[in-house]
């Protein structure tokens, strides 16, 4: 018996397409619906343009003021409002001593998201393979509930848990053990805060947040591996591990890469959990446990201070940080989506920046 797999999603096939081409048969009601729903369908695009336009317009003065130092300087300070002098660069006036170098935040953003990615991909793929190959069908449903659970936990709850439970646990028990490894791997040397706040803790929590994205896509893809190929390999005498290595992984590899990019995009934009856990220091981290800051968390933290700036430049600096973050997320997201579109057009992985 040959199983025909019905392709889910993809709305431009079958009778619907045939129906659409019969435009000369539209009634007035149809046309009204077509126009109204058409406008509604362009709103996401309009929203995207709106977001980009606002950010660019507001960021321009800060960009003119900072020039390339945005990417080269790690000094970010919205200025001394109490000094009666102002700092004027390239015709833009900012408070005295204002510097808008975003290097610290770019380093923090990249470091946390990359560590999270490097950890999340093997864990997700390994866990999904375990789930699909060894776990009996009856248990698979309930166990996959945990994936959805992880996906649905709001960001602030991750931050709450990281600050009150996970961080102190790491700081008291795990990091002391890890730092003994520092004799062999200097990477693990360093001092940490008593409540675990710092780069590594934030990265570990981020890992948990992006696992659902990678795992859910991987799970869908693993289900679609042609039964003939994997059963045929078993028939030839391969072990389950070899089947996975030879048949499954090559088939799902592109999808994993795509979902990894999507997960990376989410990690880049993660705000509240990171804000509570990373320690919010204005300098690059000293060692793997050190405190630092990311683009997203800095915007959330400093926006209210930005309001006290009489010149208004602090707000523009925030818009500039937002623009950098937007560009980074768009690049990873676009690349990921372009690859995913060729594989599956099922529902987006749940677990947005909640």
């Amino acid at each position: 018996m040959i199983l025909v797999r019905r392709r889910a999603g993809g709305s431009s096939t079958g009778p619907a397409r045939v129906a659409r081409t019969r435009t000369h048969e539209l009634t007035t009601g149809d046309r009204i619906l077509q126009w109204v729903s058409g406008i509604a369908a362009t709103i996401p695009l309009a929203g995207l343009l709106f977001i980009t336009t606002i950010l660019v317009i507001w960021a321009i003065p800060a960009i003119i003021y900072s020039g390339f130092t945005v990417f080269t300087s790690d000094k970010f300070f919205i200025g001394n409002f109490y000094n009666l002098n102002f700092s004027s660069v390239n015709g833009v006036v900012a408070p005295f001593g204002a510097n808008y170098g975003a290097l610290t935040f770019i380093i923090g953003t990249m470091a946390t998201s990359l560590i999270a990615l490097v950890l999340a991909v093997p864990i997700s793929v390994g866990g999904v393979l375990m789930l699909s190959e060894w776990i009996p069908r009856q248990l698979e449903g309930p166990l996959s509930t945990f994936l959805e659970l992880l996906a649905g936990i709001p960001s602030v709850v991750f931050g709450f848990w990281g600050l009150t439970v996970f961080g102190p646990f790491l700081g008291a028990h795990v990091y002391p053990a890890l730092s003994h490894l520092g004799v062999v791997l200097p990477f693990f040397k360093g001092s940490w805060a008593y409540n675990g706040q710092g780069l590594l803790t934030a990265s570990l929590v981020l890992t948990l947040m992006i696992i659902p994205i990678i795992a859910s896509t991987t799970r869908q893809l693993v289900k679609r591996v042609p039964v003939l190929a994997s059963e045929g390999a078993l028939a030839l005498g391969m072990t389950k591990y070899e089947v996975v290595r030879v048949v499954t992984i090559p088939y799902v590899r592109t999808g994993i890469i795509a979902s990894a990019l999507l997960g990376w995009g989410r990690a880049l934009g993660e705000t509240i959990a990171v804000l509570l856990i990373i320690g919010m220091a204005n300098n690059p981290p000293v060692g793997i446990y050190g405190t630092t800051s990311t683009l997203a968390s800095t915007i959330a933290d400093e926006l209210d201070s930005a309001l006290s700036d009489g010149t208004g430049m602090a707000l523009r600096a925030m818009a500039m940080l937002g623009l950098i973050l937007l560009v980074m997320s768009l690049i990873t997201n676009l690349t990921g989506r372009l690859v995913v579109r060729r594989i599956s057009s099922d529902a987006l992985p749940v677990g947005r920046g909640v």
Partner: protein, 294 residues
């Protein structure tokens, strides 16, 4: 590729050992997924349990001796209602357009950009709503700016699930509608919408779950209010649950930590309720669609 394996002769035991090592690692990976998920939910609920009392529902955060969550819960409900009212119709109509009317290339473009919008970080949406609405248009911290920010955030999900729901309606129903000569709008209303409705609702439920759990876009649009929501779309800060957790977890006092735990517990319960409710609806839809498929 397969023939290579047939020819290669590795010692069977070595192959099995490699397999065992691999699957042990995979088992650890699965544990690393399950354990934190359980740990988070359990530890948050355990911390919240002692703080969960009825006064949470009757007192506001302003109450000094016995702070509660009334203003925060009501605020979250108001904002969720706003998302349903604003993003709901736009998203559903947009999904209908993409599923039923859009020519292939335009539909593809619009769909693509909708998915790109889904990838914009929530803090960026909040920042834009703040600069454009709160500051430039002088709306101040306002309910409307918060609702717009949340709607931008959740719109792609509603559009996507609506479109997918319509596309999954069985071909036989469409063919019957064409055979009967029904107009497009009648087809959508009478024939396609009923089977697609559960899917659309589950999309709305996802949107509600997201907006219940969000903090970053609301920080500078809704700001926060220690009193119950009042009428007025502009110059009207409003409270919401996630802020209570975010703000009070950073204060060291025992009462503040208890309030943060309670808010975290209520938030996670609400989100779980929404997610599992949504799943139940989708499961019903699958059964219904399967029955319709002749």
């Amino acid at each position: 590729m397969l023939s290579r394996w047939a020819v290669e002769s590795k010692a069977p035991r070595f192959r099995h050992v490699r397999g065992i090592v691999f699957w042990i690692l995979c088992g650890i990976a699965l544990l690393l997924i399950i354990t934190p998920a359980l740990a988070i939910v359990i530890s948050v609920l355990v911390k919240a349990a002692p703080a969960l009392k009825w006064s949470l529902l009757t007192n506001t955060t302003q109450n000094v001796q016995n702070p509660g969550l009334q203003n925060a819960i009501l605020g979250t409900l108001v904002l969720s209602l706003g998302v349903v009212v604003v993003a709901g119709p736009i998203g559903i109509l947009g999904g209908i357009y993409l599923a039923e009317f859009a020519p292939k290339r335009l539909g593809g473009t619009l769909r693509f950009f909708s998915e790109v919008l889904a990838g914009v970080p929530s803090i960026v949406i909040g920042l834009v709503a703040y600069t454009a609405l709160v500051v430039a248009l002088h709306w101040g911290f306002s309910v409307l700016s918060a609702i717009i920010a949340l709607s931008l955030l959740t719109l792609p999900y509603i559009v996507k699930t609506t479109e997918v729901s319509f596309a999954q309606v069985p071909r036989t129903l469409r063919e019957a509608a064409i055979a009967l000569g029904l107009s497009r709008i009648t087809t959508i209303r009478k024939v396609l919408l009923p089977p697609a409705l559960p899917g659309i609702i589950s999309g709305m439920v996802i949107a509600l779950a997201i907006s219940t759990g969000e903090t970053a876009p609301l920080l500078y649009t809704a700001s926060f209010s220690n009193t119950n929501p009042s009428a007025g779309l502009f110059h009207n800060p409003i409270g919401y649950l996630t802020y209570v957790t975010y703000y009070y977890v950073q204060l060291p006092g025992a009462q503040d930590q208890a309030l943060a735990s309670a808010a975290a517990g209520v938030t996670i319960l609400l989100v779980l309720l929404l997610i599992f409710g949504g799943r139940a609806i989708t499961a019903r839809q699958r059964k219904m669609v399967a029955r319709l498929d002749v």
